[in-house]
Symmetry: C2
Subunit: 219 residues, 2 copies
């Protein structure tokens, strides 16, 4: 029996962050694809609180929330660091990871899934966040510098899922014209040989999002 289990869903950017972190560290683990429409008793036993993926189980103890799991992985296993070693740099990485999530990704998602005034408001707020992010990534290959780190992993939604969802709904708050640096980073990230191995196929994501938009349900 493996001592590390990851409960996930193939289409979840949150799960992919954890998968990539485990693989960056070279941790062996058992991956369990969870049917989110019909959650298994084992999964609900491990995560009765949020009932969401990802859930990492280490020696029988469950951990939830991708941001919490990434900290745990970096603290627990040797191998390449996901967080910078220097406390100040680590603080800045945590700040940018939170910024990407709260001020960019969540708003981009919301802008694509809403309409009218609500869409306009979300798109405007996303644009404000993206402008700041655009400046942060200029002159750098990855947010982590030469190597992929925490902020890159957290920004994975912007790189792969968002462009596909934008096309599916026909609304484009993030374009190469407006955000050339972020777009360049997204290309670098998606084409990175390590990242490529663990990200879902774009066509599969497109079909999933198309169906989700048509049915109004992600599952």
């Amino acid at each position: 029996m493996s001592e590390v289990k990851l409960f996930g869903a193939w289409f979840s950017p949150y799960v992919k962050r954890v998968e990539m972190s485990l693989n960056l560290k070279g941790v062996e683990y058992e991956y369990i694809e969870e049917d989110l429409e019909n959650k298994s008793p084992l999964f609900l036993q491990y995560n009765p609180i949020t009932k969401l993926v990802p859930v990492l189980v280490h020696n029988g103890k469950p951990i939830f929330e991708s941001s919490v799991i990434l900290e745990y992985i970096d603290e627990t296993w040797e191998g390449p660091s996901i967080f910078p070693k220097d406390p100040y740099d680590r603080a800045m990485s945590r700040f940018w990871a939170k910024f990407v999530e709260d001020k960019c990704s969540d708003l981009l998602w919301k802008a694509c899934w809403s309409a009218g005034e609500e869409r306009e408001k979300a798109a405007k707020e996303a644009e404000e966040g993206l402008k700041i992010l655009e400046n942060e990534i200029k002159d750098k290959k990855f947010f982590g510098g030469d190597n992929i780190g925490l902020v890159d992993l957290v920004a994975n939604y912007i790189a792969l899922w968002n462009p596909i969802l934008q096309d599916v709904v026909g609304f484009h708050p993030l374009t190469q014209d407006k955000f050339p640096n972020i777009s360049k980073w997204a290309d670098e990230f998606c084409n990175d040989s390590f990242v490529e191995k663990y990200m879902p196929e774009k066509e599969k994501v497109r079909l999933w999002l198309k169906r989700a938009v048509e049915t109004g349900s992600l599952y």
Copy 2:
């Protein structure tokens, strides 16, 4: 010149978390009360990104976001730990801190500041979160066990600000009847001799919130 500066606002629960953490550790620092209606050039130079308090400046380098600052303080200075030492316990503390913020405090705040359907929705969601928290704190003095830790600091809004705001707006999603364990914790927390020293005066908070509700502005 002090090597540690904290830019804050006396009424901010986020700032109080940081103040209490610095004092738990025994860190000497200069506290600078920032006028949020008329922010100082020095403050904006340190935090041009979010322009929010708290900002901790250590040896000239600024750190923003209270959750990020608390991690930095615990990593940087000796003294009583804010986060548990064991990696799994630390992960669970991070999870509960996020849960308190996202699923309880933010929703309680929103329920008090909104009306009609929006209020009902926020209050219902807050109640769901609080039920889970109610179970987590049963049989414990503090979330951190016998001593105040990360989750207690992050939950400070629930202990002091929320009851006052509830009275000011005349809407009570969190009552002792419904949540006896959380209410007991809130009493323990507010009456703790260390906490008492750093929390704002309740009457001052009441007047500030009353004015905020009347004018629709926090400043």
